[in-house]
Symmetry: C2
Subunit: 291 residues, 2 copies
């Protein structure tokens, strides 16, 4: 029997991932409320003992908007994650899939980011810690006979997004009828609806693809075009002042994934295009409030 | 008051390091017999609580000769080390010095290895795990206001060396009157007597130099020349058949440190040259037996 332990199961990405796993008929053990507990000494091993998973989907990490890029807390998640993977391997776990990030890559390179591209000099401590975790966890799983994959997440949006993050904050302001100023939004990013990201992780877990896999659309879109979609979906495009804020210095012009591994090896395709995805997110905020 | 917690204090490098710290008048808390304990959940934090150090010298790691290069145990030492550094920082620790390794560098590069050289693709899991530990621990200390240095150890020899390691095994065999065959020994390595390495770590800890520092002689010597010194010091050069074993495939021709940071910034110089160092090691084996 396949029995999946999902950490961060009540989080932004965790909820749709759990939903997608259950849709595939898998038994899921959620460790959502235990996020903080994972950082306590002995907690990762205890969680494995209690849940006895055959598969591990580890999504939990420090994620406070704005702060997570540089926070010392990232280091605590490195060792909690390694302790978790080690306990999972020691208990006979078969396959582990962990959430990585596009922040592992050296940004500013030309073209789409491929999984075999350099990750030696991430620009943030978050990227450093995720990359270090991947290197050690991958080597550990190889030596313990555990199948290992690492899904590198790009830019997510959708229901339950933290209200301080870009798209959620714009949606909420427009639904409240507030004016907002943004940068000129010429940065190109790879956006994916969180429901699709969760589903892609479920597909990756169910596959036997190993190593790093970009979990992304493979399509670059300008941030201003995303804002326009939000304007259209809310009916309040008139409230957006694109270019009213200065560009942030050092913001890389393009961060887009090469999604060939996900598409061809995992055999996964997104359900939402940008327009449908944004409409879904707006609909959720309209319905669930948070205004 | 300076109060130094030394992990691995009863080990090959730990003993001379503790000796050198005490010579400098520092108060030392030894965590030697607790090496295994450091891997138990909660043990790093408990050790910090018990010893309340202002300074940390972390030398403990998995080190079984031959096996340590590829062992899964390296991963456990990554998270134990990060948990230790985190507990140290949380308890107000001021300066942490940790043992790294020349195996972090990409071997095979031309010339002496400088601290700012690339470490993104170590050739062993040991190197991967040490490098990952350095990146995360350094970032953590920076964010927690802890002064941090990372001493990259090259090739050690001397009293109490594990009898399965090269120089100790040759010394013991010659003292027993056994013939030995070696490779042709044209590989060039950077050797340092363990007493000097321990003293260099004490000097590094007492300094305020930060970041990676090669703990090495800065001098390359052919392995065959080291063997000749052992032959001379034991009086049994006749028993050594240099070239009697084939070269190991993939053994890099040169691994030598640039030791300028240690010499100029830390202000440290070795006491032993190769000849005196080998004579000291041979004398120890002769006296302490192990034959």
């Amino acid at each position: 029997m396949t029995r999946v332990l999902v950490t961060g199961a009540t989080g932004f990405l965790g909820r749709p991932a759990v939903h997608a796993l259950r849709d595939r008929g898998l038994v899921v053990e959620e460790a959502g409320s235990r996020r903080a507990d994972l950082l306590a000494p002995g907690a990762p091993a205890a969680l494995i003992r209690e849940t006895r998973p055959t598969h591990l989907l580890h999504l939990a990490w420090y994620a406070r908007p704005g702060l997570f890029w540089d926070a010392a807390e990232n280091a605590a998640w490195v060792h909690a994650t390694l302790a978790l993977v080690e306990a999972f391997a020691a208990a006979g776990g078969r396959r582990a899939v962990l959430a990585g990030t596009c922040a592992e890559y050296a940004w500013g390179a030309e073209g789409a980011l491929r999984e075999d591209g350099p990750t030696s000099e991430p620009g943030s401590f978050y990227g450093v810690c995720k990359d270090a975790t991947r290197r050690v966890a991958e080597g550990l799983c190889l030596r313990r006979g555990v199948s290992f994959a690492w899904g590198r997440v790009f830019f997510l949006y959708g229901p339950r997004e933290h209200p301080d993050r870009l798209i959620a904050s714009v949606v909420r302001k427009l639904l409240r009828g507030e004016r907002i100023a943004t940068t000129d939004g010429t940065q190109v990013r790879d956006f994916l609806h969180v429901g699709d990201v969760g589903d892609a992780f479920a597909a990756l877990l169910a596959s036997d693809v190993e190593g790093a896999v970009n979990v992304a659309s493979g399509c670059g879109v300008r941030v201003r075009d995303v804002l326009c979609e939000v304007g259209a979906a809310t009916g309040r495009a008139d409230l957006i002042d694109i270019g009213g804020l200065p560009q942030r210095p050092g913001d890389p012009p393009v961060i887009v994934a090469d999604a060939a591994r996900l598409r061809e090896e995992v055999g996964w395709l997104p359900r939402f295009d940008l327009s449908a995805g944004i409409a879904d997110a707006v609909e959720w905020w309209r319905r669930e409030g948070g205004q």
